[in-house]
């Protein structure tokens, strides 16, 4: 029999837990603002927002691509295109009017870039987590992503270490769209992809759920805020590589052999606090935000961890490394290249999307072979 005391206890527990989570998040933002400056505290808040939206509204990148490939369900992919379009509408005029203060997510198209995007697309389907997805999943207790994450960071560090060698294999100059004409071309391109998806979609999946529309709008607002606060678009993989580079440097590794890590700007960042690196802050925020949502949900953290064979864990480590390495060659992941690249006018974002989607088709087939799910 349930007594009044029991009811009071069970009702109060989530309130205390949720209150504690919100207070801890606010304290983290305040501490960052006091320790390193208001801009960095604000960026941590933006990262928290990303994590809360991605986990809270189940907005992802790898999952929706998988849904399109396996079930011809384009809902999640449409939401991604909608969010990118909304950012474009604001980012293009902002970048055009403030060239000295804001920069886009620009990268050159090249052989290694295309191959990197293809490998990234395959690897993200193996672990079912992209750049942002791996952070969200790790923060919400997904064991595969937790295992993949440190290897992702090491891969990002190694990819940046060798980046110039790969780029020297052949790359075009950075090609960009800009101004209102650039925004119009971008919106037309996104609309064209949305139309192709409509054509390819199974009739019963030709709809965009309200939850994903809300998530797309919120994500776009946060991405624009990221641009205004940091002066650069939302990114993920640079920060992860910096974490590994700092660890290697602290362990006594000599990074002077790398053109990338020995460049003056990299050396400066290696000698500054991690809390002053924009992508590190939003990455930390995403993990904390996902944890907050998982802890907020009733039973969110009480699910049992899936039991997997050793081969699957090994695959998660290798795929994690490849996610990091390939995304540096590709000048970004689903966030830095696809989301931010396209929405700020870099043509490499479009090429990244095509190559990564092709890679995803193979990655979806690889996942069961690597024992990460039951074979159908």
């Amino acid at each position: 029999m349930t007594t009044a005391v029991d009811i009071h206890t069970t009702a109060a527990t989530p309130i205390w837990r949720r209150g504690g989570l919100v207070l801890a998040a606010l304290a983290a933002m305040l501490a960052t603002a006091l320790l390193v400056g208001g801009r960095f505290g604000l960026l941590l808040a933006v990262g928290l927002g990303f994590g809360i939206v991605l986990e809270g509204l189940r907005f992802g990148f790898a999952g929706p691509w998988r849904a399109m490939i396996l079930r011809r369900d384009p809902g999640g992919l449409w939401a991604q295109l909608l969010s990118i379009a909304l950012v474009s509408l604001v980012a293009f005029p902002l970048l055009a009017a403030n060239q000295g203060e804001l920069s886009g997510a620009q990268g050159p198209i090249g052989f290694a870039m295309i191959a990197g995007a293809f490998v990234f697309g395959a690897a993200m389907q193996v672990v079912l987590g992209c750049g942002s997805g791996t952070l969200v999943n790790a923060g919400s207790g997904n064991a595969v992503s937790l295992v993949a994450l440190p290897f992702f960071a090491i891969g990002s560090f190694a990819g940046a270490y060798h980046l110039i060698w790969w780029t020297d294999l052949g790359a075009l100059p950075v090609l960009t769209l800009s101004g209102w004409q650039g925004a119009a071309i971008t919106l037309l391109g996104l609309s064209a992809i949305a139309a192709v998806l409509w054509k390819l979609a199974a009739p019963e999946h030709r709809r965009l759920p309200r939850r994903l529309i809300v998530a797309a709008v919120l994500l776009a607002a946060l991405a624009v805020l990221n641009l205004i606060v940091a002066g650069q678009p939302w990114g993920v993989v640079y920060g992860l590589g910096l974490w590994a580079a700092k660890a290697a440097s602290a362990a006594g590794a000599d990074l002077s052999g790398s053109t990338f890590w020995s460049a003056p700007a990299s050396v400066e960042r290696l000698t500054h606090s991690l809390l002053t690196d924009y992508t590190s802050l939003t990455n930390i925020g995403i993990i904390l935000g996902a944890f907050l949502v998982a802890g907020w949900r009733t039973g969110g953290l009480s699910q049992n961890i899936q039991s997997l064979p050793a081969q699957a864990w090994l695959a998660a480590m290798v795929a994690g490394f490849l996610l990091g390495y390939s995304s540096r060659l590709a000048f970004g992941c689903n966030v830095g290249a696809f989301f931010s690249g396209i929405s700020t006018g870099s043509l490499h974002g479009w090429v990244w999307f095509a190559a990564a989607f092709a890679g995803s088709v193979y990655g979806v087939k690889l996942r069961p072979l690597l024992k990460l799910e039951a074979r159908s």
């Binding site: 208001g38 203060e101 980046l163 650069q232 678009p233 053109t259 606090s273 540096r328």
Partner: protein, 58 residues
Amino acid sequence: MTRLVTASIALAGLTAMIALDASATPPNPYKAPKLLALGSGTAPSGGFCGALPDPAGK
């Protein structure tokens, strides 16, 4: 083992990394930039996924 354990490991790892980094490179609140890059009058200088070591790409 539940997700509480793995999520806690993620948070503990993050906390340890930030603490170790803060001890090696202490934060300096007196070198803080303006709150927003937009309107700050300064060029963006953060590291980014698409960044090459210098504009020439070498």
